[in-house]
């Protein structure tokens, strides 16, 4: 079973499928990061380190 799977390891179609899988995940999360209305959220996140603590 394992040997059979390994025999296909250098299969160009598998490599192409993997490539498109990786690429689409990459493009997918670029779109996700720039999704509409996300600016407020990211602005909030980027301010997190700068929220100052108040001494009581």
């Amino acid at each position: 079973m394992k040997q059979q799977a390994l025999a296909h390891f250098a299969d160009i179609y598998l490599i192409a499928i993997a490539f498109f899988l990786f690429l689409s995940v990459f493009i997918g999360y670029i779109f996700w990061v720039y999704r509409k209305g996300s600016k407020k959220h990211y602005d909030y996140l980027s301010q997190l380190p700068l929220q100052e603590e108040k001494r009581t």
């Binding site: 390891f9 250098a10 990459f26 999360y29 602005d43 980027s46 700068l50």
Partner: protein, 710 residues
């Protein structure tokens, strides 16, 4: 420790644990001194061979692992822990999960470092770079790492801030990936308390080792420090990161791509072609996220570049990120096969590494220390001026270091490959290529001394700062704007939040497992790559004893055992090494640096007496050699005690030894040793050395390259 504040909605009261941060900060500084000092000593030993004082535990081969382990696990490790505990509590607006676990983490880690500092000079080594520590220490490292993980994830679960800032992401990726890498690369079987053998052999070991080794760079020296950068850069500049969106892309691309890049340490070797190509492709792709992150860090200063003139912390941070950019430019470049054929095994690689460690990790840590010290000791920094001077001396030191190593590496690389019109090597004697670069070793040492001098200023500055600190450093109660989970969320909501952190961790795990599995698993079914018709003889018991000495003395820190598939290399050393030839080698000894020549086919090249004289005093046979002398090999006795156990273990792991080999291991070793000693006597050695280390080592060296099909 945190509670909602009724009178002040939207605020939570928190008491941070700052003591643990102070402890790790001090440990960082102390171990930095050790790491830098040992670095300078071994740098000088490269220039002046006499500096091992004919003493085993002061010799380069034993001190070099001490230097790398001190820099990596002691200096960078403590710095990471200080920064993570400092920033995580503040980003998650809660106190550390457990003070006790924090203390356990701290003292456990320091204890491990002390054990490493004792065992490595004694020569207790697994013979794998950055993974030299023997198995009991490996277990301790894993246990303490688990303590750290529990403390970190515990803090994550009791957080008062719903959202996890990008630094936290980098910390999570660090914790899970380092655990995975360290455990897999350390799977070994012990034969005694002080000696164990890795289960992987030859090419498998090489691949697992560099999957680990390169990702030690990625997930110990890069991702945690990027997390620190994303926290301390906005803090120091008092403005948010240039682009948060870019940091999200930076994170996912970086952790996904990095894990595949390991095979670029094995280019032009016997490693299968597809793995080499894969390593190159992913290394080159790393250019993008690395520079994305570097640009993101530096552009955070947009609109306040004036800080670069006035604030030493900003200076250190910007320089650190610039060195990160330079290092991550050079890395992919060196991963291109043609460039690698020139740079690999030379000092160029040493220069490249130090660009990263001194420039990126060192300077970022210094920035962090200058940031943390006045704040957590509740005072002002003693002297901004001294920090300023530290910066400039440090920069000068790095430049001296890097430029001299770049020049040395390229010079020697070109000399190794120089072939004249008749097809002969222009520099057939290896030592010719060494003499040429020795002056540069002095320049490198000057670079190290300068870097250390700058660091001494930090030491003094921090000491003075702490001196003027108030006596009472008790944790104070502060108010932070946050989302007190317990108040604003139903039980279901709370659990959902925990689920988010878990989901994130699982996604990150998938990202790093993808490359790991595709890269490592196929090679573990070794039968696919080894041609079984090429018979390889296993080492005899005496040769194995010699091999243990070779590893103990750290010979692999200066000598490779891998003749690459490069024409000039085959002219110099003989036919290219094959996978089969090292298939029983535990650990593999392909090496990563040639301060001396490759030894893959050393066997039978010189008579036994040559080796005897060479180990006693290398200058007796090679006039200009810079190798230190190893006189203790001739005076101290060889230990045959564990040979039976070793052979029996190897047999279980698939090395073709018979039961007779196991039973007769010690007798066989003694017989072979008597033979070599008798021959040495005939050739003029006066004393009887049949029970000394030297005979075992000679047996091993004479067997190198002799075991494969002729």
């Amino acid at each position: 420790m945190s509670a909602s504040n009724e009178s002040n909605p939207g605020f939570v009261q928190v008491k941070y644990n700052d003591e643990i941060v102070r402890m790790f900060t001090l440990a960082t500084i102390i171990w930095a001194a050790v790491a830098f000092l040992v670095g300078i000593i071994i740098a000088l030993q490269m220039a002046v061979w006499q500096l091992n004082f004919n003493t085993s535990w002061l010799t380069f081969g034993r001190l070099r692992p001490l230097h790398t382990n001190a820099a990596l696990f002691a200096f960078a490790g403590n710095a990471i822990f200080a920064g993570i505990y400092h920033s995580t509590q503040r980003l998650l607006k809660t106190r550390l999960y457990s003070d006790v676990l924090g203390k356990l983490h701290f003292w456990g880690w320091q204890f491990i470092i002390v054990l490493a500092a004792v065992t490595l000079p004694l020569g207790l080594s697994q013979g794998k770079e950055y993974a030299e520590l023997e198995w009991p220490i490996d277990i301790a490292v894993v246990l303490i790492w688990v303590v750290f993980a529990i403390n970190f994830f515990g803090t994550l679960l009791k957080r008062n801030e719903k959202h996890m800032y990008v630094s936290i992401w980098f910390y999570i990726a660090t914790i899970i990936t380092v655990a995975l890498l360290y455990i897999v690369n350390a799977i070994s079987l012990p034969i005694s308390f002080f000696k164990s053998y890795i289960v992987f052999a030859g090419i498998q070991d090489a691949l697992v080792q560099w999957w680990y080794g390169h990702n030690a760079v990625a997930f110990f020296l890069t991702t945690p420090f990027l997390g620190l950068m994303y926290y301390y850069m906005p803090k120091a500049a008092n403005r948010p990161i240039f682009s948060y969106r870019l940091s999200v892309m930076h994170f996912w691309s970086l952790i996904f791509l990095y894990i595949w890049a390991g095979p670029h340490h094995l280019l032009n070797t016997a490693l299968p072609e597809w793995l080499q190509t894969m390593g190159i492709v992913f290394s080159v792709m790393l250019w993008a996220p690395s520079w994305g992150g570097a640009v993101n860090g530096i552009l955070t200063l947009r609109g306040s570049w004036n800080l670069l003139r006035t604030d030493p912390i900003i200076k250190f941070l910007v320089a650190a990120i610039t060195f990160y950019a330079m290092g991550t430019f050079e890395g992919p470049l060196l991963s291109v096969k043609a460039v690698n054929s020139l740079g690999h095994y030379t000092d160029w690689i040493v220069g490249h590494v130090h660009l990263g460690t001194l420039g990126w990790n060192g300077f970022l840590t210094f920035a962090m220390v200058y940031y943390i010290a006045p704040r957590l000791w509740k005072t002002e920094l003693y002297s901004k001026k001294l920090a300023e001077i530290h910066f400039w001396i440090g920069i000068l030191g790095i430049l001296f270091y890097y430029i001299s190593m770049l020049a040395a590496g390229i010079t020697q690389g070109l000399m190794w490959r120089a072939v004249d019109a008749n097809g002969h090597l222009v520099y057939p004697d290896f030592v010719e290529t060494v003499i040429r670069i020795v002056p540069l070793f002095f320049f490198r040492a000057i670079g190290g001394v300068l870097f250390m001098a700058g660091f001494v200023l930090l030491l003094f500055n921090v000491y003075k700062t702490i001196k003027q600190a108030p006596k009472d450093l008790a944790d104070e109660i502060v108010q932070v704007k946050g989302v007190p989970v317990a108040v604003n969320h139903s039980e279901r909501g709370h659990r959902r939040l925990e689920g988010m952190a878990a989901a994130f961790t699982i996604l990150a795990l998938i990202a790093i497992l993808a490359g790991s599995i595709i890269e490592v698993v196929p090679t573990l079914s070794i039968s696919k790559y080894v041609k079984t018709e090429n018979k390889v003889e296993p080492f005899t018991p005496l040769e194995l004893a010699g091999r243990n000495i070779y590893i103990k003395e750290g010979c692999f820190t200066c000598h490779s055992q891998m003749i690459r598939t490069i024409h000039s290399e085959e002219l110099r050393y003989g036919a290219a090494s094959t996978i089969e030839e090292s298939m029983y080698d535990r650990p593999f000894q392909w090496g990563s640096k040639r301060t001396g020549p490759d030894l893959a086919r050393l066997g039978k090249k010189y008579p036994d007496l040559w080796h005897y004289m060479h180990m006693e005093n290398p200058r007796a046979v090679i006039k200009e050699s810079i190798m230190p002398a190893y006189p203790w090999l001739i005076s101290s006795k060889v230990d045959f005690g564990n040979l039976g156990k070793t052979i029996s273990l190897f047999k279980k792991l698939g090395v073709p030894y018979s039961d007779k080999d196991v039973a007769g291991a010690i007798t066989s070793a003694k017989t072979q040793a008597l033979g070599i000693a008798a021959r040495l006597k005939d050739q003029g050695v006066k004393e009887d050395v049949s029970d000394k280390k030297i005979v075992a080592l000679i047996a091993y060296l004479q067997a190198l390259g002799q075991k494969g099909e002729k």
